[in-house]
């Protein structure tokens, strides 16, 4: 039982943390432009002098 008393709050805490992170992402507009986010990673950085 002592194991449970420790593990269950940890499991729930991690789940809640994930849920909170999802809500934060939703509020901060990260789901507004799904196609753009996927394409943006392919844009090269500025500056042609980079090797």
């Amino acid at each position: 039982m002592t194991g449970l008393a420790l593990l269950i709050p940890i499991a729930l805490g991690m789940g809640l943390f994930g849920l909170a992170a999802f809500f934060w992402a939703l509020r901060s507009g990260q789901f507004d432009d799904m196609d753009g986010a996927a394409a943006r990673i392919l844009i090269d950085e500025e500056g042609d002098d980079l090797p």
Binding site: M1, L4, I8, A11, L12, G15, L16, G18, L19, F22, F23, L26, F31, D32, D33, M34, D35, G36, A39, R40, I41, L42, I43, D44, E46
Partner: protein
């Protein structure tokens, strides 16, 4: 109207629609190109909405930004606010989906240990924990269904959400009772999983609508944004279409579309009315002539006194007709709702019979009977049924979108699948709707004459010049070197050509003096004049597309507003029967006649005059080049030149509905197996959870076969 919001730092924000963006390269070019414009501090692309938000100093005008994008090769338009993005359908569903997912996973974790044999105090603790997580989560995520079910019940109707809500509320109440009294079974896991699957189905359906709508909106928002208005003191100012008022004088250059109805006060030109009336021949206008919004000015600059703008134009008449025409569509009941009309009473009767049977015949006692009846409700809750329609439609729409066919919502596919008759507009739908140079003449041009005409034409915005540039560039011809280019509106372009040997020759591309057909004349000094005729052409692959339609058992005919001669020519070329000179009302009535005779009609059209017919037909499709009214009224919009989109989308719609029916059969088949077990009182939460996931997975797997539906 352009969206201009004052920023705290004295900067402004303008949103431009850029339909041409489709990849990372485009995004980088647009963002960097705009950032390089003086006064612009930031530009951020939204690729899904095909928009770019520009933050800039107050002095930077919208046309300057549009020009900067044009120079980069991206035609852009300020966003029209009245057509602002409708509220996203999927966003309000994401948070309930996230909560249901979180709660379902955690409660399942606790349930697994109960199923594995946890007993006594541990089981009670786990039940209490499940209740603490489950009840708030069910209350939050279930609102989507409760609200819709309540709305239906208030009006004395029922829908899929009514049995869902009743099942969820009863199961939650029973589970809470079991938890409080220390009972053996609680159903929080099954209830949450049900909500999760159903919300996933809803979210998919909404995401599809959002995606298609974003594509159509990007096209829509670039329509007639305004006009150059000549002030009293002679200076010219750009004014957005909604701000135009009668009495203003607008200057319309060749190649521009009119933004309002009016009367010509100076200038002479020819107008292309094809979007408005379907008439393919250009109409000459002079001083005193009446012109309408939406027509294209072909030749010379016109000064037009606005007589009616916005809601007062000829368009308003057509809009009124359209409003009255959408009855066939609003009468249509989606297949999921038709299924639930049968399903909901059946399920509730079964549950009630089970309860009564155990009470009266089985003498099981109130509690036991209630538990079994609720098990029946949970096991029959339309989990796989909730996924049966949206998953199939999402997969099919994705496949169609890859082929350049945008479907506005799922019900369009359902209606399209029933179609057995198609009416096709001529100008702009069966034909390309724009003048194209005669390919035989282009083949016969000497190579250097081709290069000279490309160079000349590239200096003009005239529709004929643009068509010539496109056709010559497609043949891989490079432009010749010209100096001293001069364009005289209404006349043509003249220049001096420097050939490879450095010899200078005067050349000109002009309007021919006495030609009866639409044509351009190419003069090269010392050579005979070339006459390049232009005409509207049938879309490529029309023959195959019509054959494919016939193969699908769909009878096709032409319904055009053009004159009988022009329609007859196309009818002979395609072998279709035709009705000519039909005005918007006649088109709508033709559809009503066919519908009265029991036919399901697909209308394919592009013009403003097709609007009421597109709205009245059982399903409708428009090319991407259509008028904004056409695109708005149509269920499907296809990009590209080919007409093969028609048979392709009908075929895909029929396959989709076949898969939807299979999905229903699978879901009902699962119920046939599971319901007797539940009625016998043999179903435990473990069996319910396993059955629910399995039937949902099978339905999803079956729907994924539609990935190749648009082949």
């Amino acid at each position: 109207m352009t969206m201009v919001q004052p920023q705290p730092t004295g900067e402004e924000r303008t949103v431009l629609v850029v339909p041409g963006m489709h990849c990372a390269g485009c995004m980088a070019k647009v963002e960097r190109g705009l950032a390089a414009v003086p006064g612009v501090s930031a530009a951020r692309v939204n690729l899904t909405a095909r928009q770019v938000a520009v933050t800039h100093a107050a002095g930077v005008s919208t046309p300057a930004l549009v020009d900067a994008l044009g120079a980069l090769g991206f035609p852009a338009q300020p966003r029209e606010e009245e057509l602002a993005a409708p509220p996203s359908a999927v966003k309000p569903l994401l948070a309930p989906l996230g909560v249901a997912g979180f709660a379902a996973m955690n409660v399942m974790l606790l349930s697994v240990s109960i199923w594995s044999g946890a007993g006594g105090a541990t089981r009670e603790l786990f039940h209490w924990l499940s209740a603490a997580i489950g009840i708030p989560a069910i209350a939050y995520s279930g609102r989507v269904f409760f609200a819709s079910a309540w709305g239906a019940l208030k009006h004395g109707r029922t829908n899929m959400d009514v049995p869902i809500s009743i099942g969820v509320i009863l199961a939650t109440g029973l589970s809470l009772y079991e938890t409080v009294t220390g009972g053996a079974t609680a159903w929080f896991d099954g209830t949450l999983m049900l909500l999760l699957f159903l919300l996933a189905g809803r979210a998919l359906d909404a995401a599809m609508r959002d995606k298609a709508r974003a594509g159509v909106d990007a096209l829509l928002r670039q329509a007639a944004p305004g006009a150059l208005v000549v002030g009293r003191d002679g200076n010219v100012e750009w004014i957005a279409a909604p701000l135009l008022v009668p009495g203003m004088i607008m200057r319309v250059a060749a190649g521009e579309r009119l933004a309002a109805d009016g009367e010509v006060v100076s200038g002479q030109s020819r107008l292309d009315n094809s979007l408005l009336t379907g008439e393919s021949a250009a109409v000459p206008v002079g001083v005193g002539g009446t012109v309408h919004a939406g027509t294209l000015n072909l030749d010379g600059a016109l000064d037009v006194r606005v007589t009616a703008a916005g809601q007062g134009t000829t368009l308003a008449e057509i809009a009124k007709l359209m409003d009255a025409s959408g009855q066939a569509r609003s009468r249509y009941v989606r297949i999921a709702d038709r299924a639930s009309r049968l399903y909901a009473p059946a399920v509730h009767t079964l549950a009630a019979l089970t309860f009564a049977g155990w009470m009266l015949v089985g003498h099981a006692g109130l509690h036991q009977s209630l538990v079994i009846a609720i098990a029946v409700l949970i096991i029959t809750c339309p989990c796989a049924l909730g996924l049966a329609v949206p998953v199939a439609q999402v997969v099919a729409c994705g496949a169609l979108m890859k082929r350049g066919i945008m479907v506005k919502d799922g019900s369009a596919l359902e209606r399209l699948a029933t179609v057995d008759r198609v009416l096709i507009d001529k100008t702009g739908t069966l034909t390309l709707g724009r003048p194209l140079p005669d390919p035989a003449v282009l083949d016969a041009l000497e190579p250097d004459a081709g290069r000279v005409s490309l160079a000349l034409a590239s200096h003009s915005k005239h529709p004929l010049s643009r068509a010539l540039v496109e056709a010559l560039a497609a043949r891989g011809i490079a432009a010749a070197k010209l100096t001293g280019v001069l364009e005289v509106p209404g006349r043509g372009i003249s220049a001096t050509w420097l050939d490879a040997t450095g010899q200078a020759t005067p050349v000109a591309l002009r309007r021919p003096g006495e030609a009866t057909v639409m044509a351009a004349a190419l003069d090269i000094a010392g050579r005979p004049t070339w006459l390049i005729p232009f005409s509207d052409r049938l879309r490529p692959g029309v023959g195959q597309a019509l054959q494919a339609l016939a193969g699908l058992g769909v009878e096709a005919s032409i319904l055009s507003g053009d004159n009988a001669g022009a329609v007859g020519e196309v009818a002979r070329a395609t072998g279709l029967t035709a009705e000519a000179a039909a005005d918007p009302l006649a088109k709508r009535d033709a559809i009503a006649r066919l519908q009265g005779a029991g036919r399901k009609v697909l209308m394919a059209g592009d013009g403003l005059n097709d609007g009421p017919a597109l709205a009245a037909a059982d399903a409708s499709i428009a090319p991407g080049t259509a008028s904004d009214v056409g695109r708005q009224a149509a269920d499907l919009v296809f990009l590209g030149d080919g007409l093969d989109a028609l048979p392709r989308s009908i075929r895909a719609a029929r396959r989709t509905m076949a898969v939807v029916r299979q999905n229903f059969a699978l879901a009902v088949g699962y119920n046939v197996l599971a319901v007797p077990l539940a009625m016998a009182g043999l179903v435990t939460p473990l069996i319910a959870a396993a059955a629910m996931s399995l039937s949902s997975l099978i339905v999803i797997a079956n729907s994924l076969r539609l990935v190749r539906a648009a082949k």
